[in-house]
C-alpha cells in the first residue's frame, strides 16, 4: 500500500512537471509578444501616458519574475488581461497624441497671427515714444506719470516679446503663445495710454 502511494505521488509530480513544461513555450511567447507590443509605442507612451506605462512595465516585470520561477501557468493566465490593458493604453496614447497635435496646430496658427501683429505694434509705439521723447511738453491728455509708465511698460513689452520668440524657437509653442497674448495685451494698453487709436 505504501509503495502504491509513492507511485501515485511520483505520477502526480511527473504529470505536474510535464504540465508546467508544456506551458513554458506559450508563456515565453506571450511575454515576448507583450514586450514587443510595448516596444512599438514606448516612446509615445513616455510622452503621453507615463503613469499608465509604468503600470504596464510593473506587470511585465511580474511576468518575467514568474518565468524565472518557472511559474509558466501564471504567465499564460495573466497575459490576456495585460494584452487588454496594452490595447487600451494604445488607444489612450492615440487620443492624447491627437489632442496634443491639434493644440500644437492651434498654437502655431495663433503664433503666426501674433508674430505679425506684435512687431507692428512695437514699431508704431517705438515711433511715438521716440517722438514724444523729443517733445518739450507732453500732449494735453497725458500726464508725466502716465508717460513714465508707458516708457517702462514698453521696455517690458519688448523684453517679453523677445522671450516669447525665443520660447517659440525652442519648440515651446504653447508657452510662447501665452506670453505673446500677454505682450499684445500690454501693447493694446500702451496704445491706449498714448492715445493711439489703431486703424485696424
Amino acid at each position: 500500500m505504501r509503495i502504491a502511494n509513492v507511485f501515485v505521488a511520483l505520477a502526480a509530480t511527473t504529470l505536474m512537471l510535464a504540465g508546467c513544461a508544456s506551458q513554458k513555450e506559450p508563456a515565453e511567447k506571450a511575454l515576448a509578444q507583450v514586450e514587443s507590443s510595448v516596444a512599438e509605442f514606448r516612446a509615445d507612451a513616455e510622452k503621453y501616458a507615463l503613469d499608465e506605462l509604468q503600470g504596464v512595465d510593473e506587470s511585465i516585470a511580474r511576468l518575467k519574475n514568474s518565468v524565472a520561477n518557472k511559474d509558466y501557468s501564471a504567465v499564460v493566465k495573466a497575459a490576456p488581461a495585460l494584452n487588454s490593458t496594452i490595447t487600451a493604453l494604445k488607444e489612450t496614447i492615440a487620443t492624447r497624441k491627437a489632442d496634443a497635435e491639434a493644440m500644437m496646430a492651434a498654437a502655431q496658427s495663433e503664433w503666426t497671427d501674433l508674430s505679425a501683429k506684435v512687431p507692428q505694434m512695437v514699431e508704431a509705439i517705438q515711433s511715438r515714444v521716440d517722438t514724444l521723447g523729443k517733445s518739450r511738453k507732453l500732449p494735453k491728455d497725458m500726464d508725466k506719470a502716465t508717460w513714465e509708465t508707458v516708457k517702462t511698460d514698453f521696455e517690458t513689452m519688448k523684453t517679453e516679446w523677445t522671450d516669447a520668440t525665443a520660447q517659440f524657437a525652442s519648440g515651446q509653442a504653447g508657452e510662447a503663445v501665452r506670453k505673446a497674448r500677454e505682450v499684445k495685451a500690454k501693447g493694446d494698453q500702451i496704445l491706449g495710454q498714448l492715445g493711439m487709436t489703431p486703424s485696424a
Partner: protein
C-alpha cells in the same frame, strides 16, 4: 514706420489745421511738425500747405 502698419495713427486734416497745431495736439510740441511732414512726404510737398480732408500719418 511702414505705411501698411495697422497700428499707425492717422489724422484727417480739418479746416484751420496746420502741421504745427497737429504736432501740438499729438506730441504737445509744435516744433515737432517736421516729424509729421517727413512721414507724409508722399502726399505733402510743403509743410505749410495742407488741405482739409487729407489723411496724414502721425508717426
Amino acid at each position: 514706420m511702414s505705411t501698411d502698419n495697422p497700428y499707425a495713427q492717422y489724422h484727417v486734416v480739418k479746416k484751420g489745421d496746420t502741421l504745427s497745431k497737429i504736432a501740438e495736439e499729438y506730441y504737445g510740441d509744435k516744433m515737432l511738425y517736421t516729424k509729421i511732414f517727413e512721414a507724409n512726404k508722399d502726399v505733402l510737398q510743403d509743410p505749410n500747405k495742407i488741405q482739409p480732408g487729407q489723411k496724414l500719418r502721425i508717426p
